[in-house]
């Protein structure tokens, strides 16, 4: 019969093993979730990933760290589709998505709508978020998209907003959407940070 010390040691080992298994399962779950919630064309996270998983994660993390939502829209995307065809539109989205994903450096990039992409910048101060989005904007504008017929370039307009933990996700999203609208209204191909205080 095992002594009490041996039993305690056995229980501790069992606990450690379960904890390690749990971490591994969680990682696997994250990986599976990552694969399941992907947009087929761009490889970015889909909107379902945001609504089914990331929203809670953002709400939890926003109590401890600063989070910035950055919503961007491809300028004149309809024109690309109309003038060059839908294949060119697809190529453009794929290129832009990849550039954003590359520069986002691990921050999730979500295909929010047709040509709207959302970047969730965890643990990022406002000025750093603005700098990063501006870099994304410049990089996209400089990249020559080639649809097999010829080259063209696209520009992005960004609206940014600091995530307010006192508001719901939808309310926060409305802020960033307003910032994007304002950004579009005042000239496109630019980044505008939502002003704090009363909304316009």
């Amino acid at each position: 019969m095992a002594s009490p010390d041996q039993a305690a040691e056995e229980a501790r080992r069992e606990y450690e093993r379960l904890r390690a298994d749990n971490v591994q399962l969680k990682q696997q779950l994250d990986a599976m979730r990552g694969l399941a919630f992907r947009d087929q064309l761009t490889g970015l996270f889909s909107r379902h990933y945001l609504t089914d998983y990331l929203e809670q994660e953002i709400a939890r993390a926003s109590r401890e760290e600063s989070i910035v939502l950055a919503l961007c829209d491809i300028d004149d995307f309809k024109l690309i589709n109309d003038v060059r065809g839908h294949q060119a539109g697809d190529v453009a989205i794929v290129c832009i998505a990849d550039i954003l994903d590359d520069l986002a450096g691990g921050h999730p990039v979500i295909r929010w709508g047709g040509e709207e992409l959302l970047v969730v910048l965890f643990s990022t101060p406002d000025d750093e978020a603005l700098r990063l989005c501006d870099q994304m904007r410049e990089e996209v504008a400089a990249y020559r998209v080639d649809d097999g017929i010829g080259e063209f370039s696209c520009t992005l307009t960004f609206g940014l907003s600091a995530y307010d933990p006192g508001l719901t996700f939808n309310e926060n999203f409305a802020c960033v959407d307003r910032a994007l609208y304002h950004s579009k209204e005042t000239g496109k191909n630019r980044c505008v940070f939502a002003q704090s205080g009363p909304t316009e």
Binding site: G43, Y143, R144, G148, I149, K184, G187, K188
Partner: protein, 512 residues
């Protein structure tokens, strides 16, 4: 292969689609991390024919980098990359077979095959459509003539009217289907500038500002040919070699700019470089020898002499020190005249040479901002707008007023001074009620500000010529370059700051 070169084979996820685009993006990801990088097939970005190769064999990337591990990590970080492994023997890389039997072995350059077949088919379709439209118009004219001879037959007149409307719409749709963005030719111009720069030992940066302008593809094709000729001429004959530039106190790299703007019934391409200006004395001398001067040489301005340069056959032979350069200008002028265009050459106040080439166009598509001042609603090309700011009356700077010139200034939030276009009482269509925004503009290298009551956002519009019934001259002097029908169906005048400034100069400083 150098000893520190690394070659990796990148396989993309099966059936991911657009493999060539995704492969090009993998290369883009690693470029900043590498000292040198190349890929096989070389033409992945522009050639969808490489897709089958990429599916079968993968993309091969050769690179040298201070931290190769970081490059491998970046490759594996791309979502559509399935796996990535090192290639030990470059001879194992399968060649890419292209349709005409040429093999891209990876070492030699392989230019993309131009899509002549596609272009020919498109031209044929265009011709068929144009013929069909001409037949419709002919039928319409016959129908209208018949309807006019029977004015009491209201049904016939209604049918004739509907037919005319349908033909109008068909004409517009046909014209729009022929529209292509200027950016289509931008890449080939850049390539050309690089090639000629290398060939003639000239360090040059080509900057193109087209403001997302789109125009008829036939015009674009003519424009491409002429612009290529002009770019070659500028690089070969107009710009000094780096050592000469340094000796002259200029930066070693020259700047060659192409700015494309809508100017009503024309699209104007302004090619500007900071190389040698043209010598008005030489041009004047040639003009005198050819008997082209209508008044004493001394009375000619540099601009007027510059206009001679693009006259076809102005220089008869490539003789003399400047023969080649002048003959090139003549060639460009001849090509331009052939398509109904015109141009001028001038030395700018900035010490640069500007060649302005005007191409006639049926209509162009461009991005405009919709503005309102008082009762007037009009559109301004987005290309001319630097930015918007909220209008602050205290920023209208009376201390900078120059009563002699009648100039009022507006000081922007960044403390830059702009001439306010609509200050004072007599502002015509630009008279405001209670201005809320100030628009900061740039044209002809000059800064102007325009106060407006409202901004209706941006819209891409096709700019049409003004109807013949209007007084086009007065409209032009007021800065109007045409009209557009907006998304909501309403017509709107399209103004141009450049035209406005030119008009005001022609009127001794008055505008609008």
């Amino acid at each position: 292969m150098r000893s520190d070169d690394i070659i990796v084979r990148v396989m993309l996820k099966p059936n991911c689609g657009l493999e060539n685009t995704r492969a090009a993006l993998v290369v883009r990801r690693v470029e900043p991390l590498c000292d040198s990088v190349s890929c096989h097939p070389r033409t992945v970005k522009r050639d969808p024919n490489t897709i089958s190769y990429l599916r079968d064999h993968g993309l091969f990337i050769r690179f040298t980098a201070p931290q190769p591990e970081q490059v491998l990590l970046a490759i594996r970080g791309a979502f559509f990359v399935d796996c990535c492994d090192l290639v030990d023997d470059p001879d194992d890389i399968p060649p890419l077979a292209v349709p005409d039997g040429i093999v891209d072995g990876g070492a030699g350059a392989l230019d993309p095959l131009p899509a002549f077949a596609d272009r020919d088919a498109r031209t044929k379709r265009d011709d068929e459509l144009t013929d069909l439209l001409a037949r419709f118009e002919e039928t319409g004219r016959a129908l209208r003539a018949h309807a006019e001879s029977l004015p009491r037959d209201r049904v016939l007149n209604d049918i004739s009217f509907s037919h005319a409307q349908a033909v109008d719409e068909l004409r517009t749709v046909t014209a729009r289907s022929r529209i292509e963005p200027f950016d289509r030719i931008a890449s080939s111009l850049r390539q050309l500038a690089d090639d000629y720069g290398r060939r003639f030992g000239i360090a040059v940066d080509l900057r193109i500002a087209a403001g997302h302008l789109a125009l008829d593809r036939a015009v674009l094709a003519s424009m491409e040919e002429i612009l290529k000729r002009a770019v070659r001429s500028c690089i070969r004959d107009g710009i000094e070699k780096p050592e000469e530039r340094l000796a002259a106190g200029k930066p070693a790299r020259a700047t060659l700019g192409i700015r494309v703007e809508n100017d009503g019934s024309d699209v104007v391409c302004r090619i500007e470089h900071d190389g040698w200006p043209f010598n008005p004395m030489i041009v004047g001398e040639i003009a005198r020898e050819r008997g082209l001067l209508a008044r004493p040489f001394e009375t000619y301005s540099d601009e007027e002499l510059g206009a001679f340069l693009l006259l076809p056959r102005f220089v008869e032979s490539k003789s003399g020190n400047h023969g080649d350069a002048l003959a090139e200008f003549n060639e460009i002028g001849s090509m331009l005249q052939h398509i109904g265009g015109h141009g001028e050459v001038r030395n700018t106040e900035r010490g640069t040479l500007e060649i302005a080439l005007s191409f006639p166009v049926p209509f162009t598509v461009l991005e405009v901002a919709l503005l309102r001042t008082g009762e007037s609603r009009f559109a301004l090309p987005a290309q001319q707008i630097l930015r918007f700011e909220a209008f602050r009356v205290e920023r209208v700077a009376p201390e900078l007023d120059d009563p002699a010139a009648g100039t009022t200034w507006y000081v922007s939030e960044t403390d830059e001074q702009y001439v306010l276009l609509n200050a004072g009482e007599e502002c015509g269509v630009f008279a405001t009620e209670s201005p809320r925004y100030i628009i900061l503009l740039d044209a002809l290298g000059e800064k102007r500000a325009l106060a407006v009551d409202a901004i209706g956002g941006y819209e891409r519009v096709s700019v049409n010529r003004l109807p013949a019934l209007l007084d086009r001259r007065a409209a032009r002097e007021a800065g109007c370059i045409g009209y557009a029908v907006l998304a909501d169906g309403s017509p709107c005048a399209v103004m141009s700051l450049r035209r406005l400034l030119q008009g005001s100069r022609g009127n001794g400083g008055r505008h609008a």
